[in-house]
Amino acid sequence: MEKPLTKNIRPGEPPFDLEAYERAGGYGAVRKALTNMTPNEVLEEVKKSNLRGRGGAGFPTGMKWSFVPMGADAPRPKYMIMNADEMEPGTFKDRVLLEGDPHLIVESMIVSAYAIEAEKGYVFLRWEYKEAERAVRKAVGEAYKAGYLGKNILGSGYDFDLQVHSSAGRYMCGEETGLLNSLEGKRAIPRAKPPFPQTSGLWGKPTIVNNVETLCSVPHIINQGAEWFRGLSYTSDAGTKLYGVSGKVKNPGWWELPMGTTLREILEEHAGGMREGYKFRGALPGGASTDFLVEEHLDVRLDFNSVQEAGSRLGTGTVIVMDDKTCPVGMVHNLEHFFAQESCGWCTPCREGLPWVERILYAIDNGEGRPEDIDLLEMHTRFLGPGNTFCALAPGAVEPLQSALKYFRADFDQHINEKRCPWR
């Protein structure tokens, strides 16, 4: 089974330096793209590969890039930004790539930037990823010395500068337009779309923002072709996927597997099943802002389309498992505490609605819930849903809530009727 994203990663050992990375075939995609392909040919290959965004939304990457104005009349400079602000609770996949193969990070930025003729790139990294920061800064330095970054890269005439930006907290920085505001030195509040960043992004210039894992697939697509990349997957969503599992399983961790691996295989074969004395009750398939899946969904393939058909989202593909000794109300309360805290306050439904949801859940969890609270919570899942807020934070926040009310309703009722949490 091929594992292009993680082939160079040896957990517990330092990442490849430039020489080792080159020996393993590294920077081959930069060479190929910059000396043998036009930007448009790179773009077309990515389009054909059917690569979709690994940050959670699943938007087709090639299509996203195709909206960037090209040619001599395009506004400049143009920007390519890697979103390494991984802060979705339960998600730890980009950390693996950033710490484990920093030259792949650099190479993916060069090849992707070339496709949209960007002059400048940023790796937008959350402050807490210190080991990743050290690794990527070192790789950037080595790449400059070797002539992979800077002016006239490999004699191609293409210039590209890459900078690592360490952030200062807040989940909102991971939202595409919030990230752009933060990079401009402002509060990370979302921008109205349109205009979309592809035409008016950083400093009003054409900008692409992509997730770490998404961009890391690009050099491999250029090296081995779109058809090969599509063939890596079990389903129509192409490539491999970095899946992860946390919670009370025997072997929590991460694995690069074909896109479309079933939830059952990931939980039972890779994560080793539940720990002794614990039973599976449900799981968030792709971080905190995805709907619960339950036992009947164990054979769902974790790809974008299949998870959507099951009523949830692939999200980041890092599964959070809820066991039978964990209180579903307490779990959802923890999740909504996060979202209420991280709301940037820019739009009213999110700023006011999420703290209200949190307070109601706190009350229920502490035996002070009222029967009408269930209706209030259900009302919020609609009012905070898609179309009512500036960005996707609040709609994401209500996904675990609405599905918990669907699958674990009896637990909510029991809290309210008995005026206590049965798990305490």
Binding site: R95, K130, R170, G185, R187, G244, G253, A288, F338
Partner: protein, 156 residues
């Protein structure tokens, strides 16, 4: 007054950005590196360099949870309170930490050694529960392991 060292580091940072104010977050972090937290006086000096009003810069500073606008201790403990850590025993670690340090969230120990702050998911969920002390990550926490870590910083 900014120190010469602070001023030089900030000016070097300004070179990376198209507009001065874009470096505001980096510059605030430089001040914080030298002073542990961003003082009112430092903020005002910095606003002058960045050609922003004090209110505009404070508007940015107070948005970001890792910019400290209040004094913090020698070591800031960021304890993850997000979902995977919560599932794996965060509450026990939190209670243990509060008891050992004798402080609540947002407080600093009387000897100035530790400040305790909750943090969102640290992205090490397969090794939960987790925390950072300063810039160092610790995971697979148990109450015993927490005691050992705190002891290192007490004596260190």
């Amino acid at each position: 007054m900014l120190s010469e060292e602070e001023r030089q580091e900030i000016e070097k940072e300004l070179e990376h950005y198209e507009y001065k104010r874009a470096a505001s977050i980096e510059a605030l972090k430089i001040l914080q590196k030298h002073r542990r937290w961003v003082t009112d006086e430092g903020l005002a000096d910095l606003a002058g360099i960045l050609e922003m009003s004090t209110a505009e810069l404070d508007n940015v500073a107070t948005f970001y949870n890792l910019i400290y606008r209040q004094p913090v201790g020698e070591n800031v403990i960021l304890l993850c309170d997000s979902i995977s850590c919560w599932l794996m025993g965060y509450e026990q670690i939190r209670d243990h930490m509060r008891e050992r340090l004798g402080i609540n969230y947002g407080e600093t120990t009387p000897d100035g050694k530790f400040t305790l702050i909750p943090i969102v998911c640290l992205g090490t969920c397969d090794h939960a529960p987790a925390m950072m002390v300063g810039e160092k990550l610790y995971n697979d926490l148990t109450p015993e392991k927490v005691d050992e870590i705190l002891e290192q910083y007490r004596t260190g």
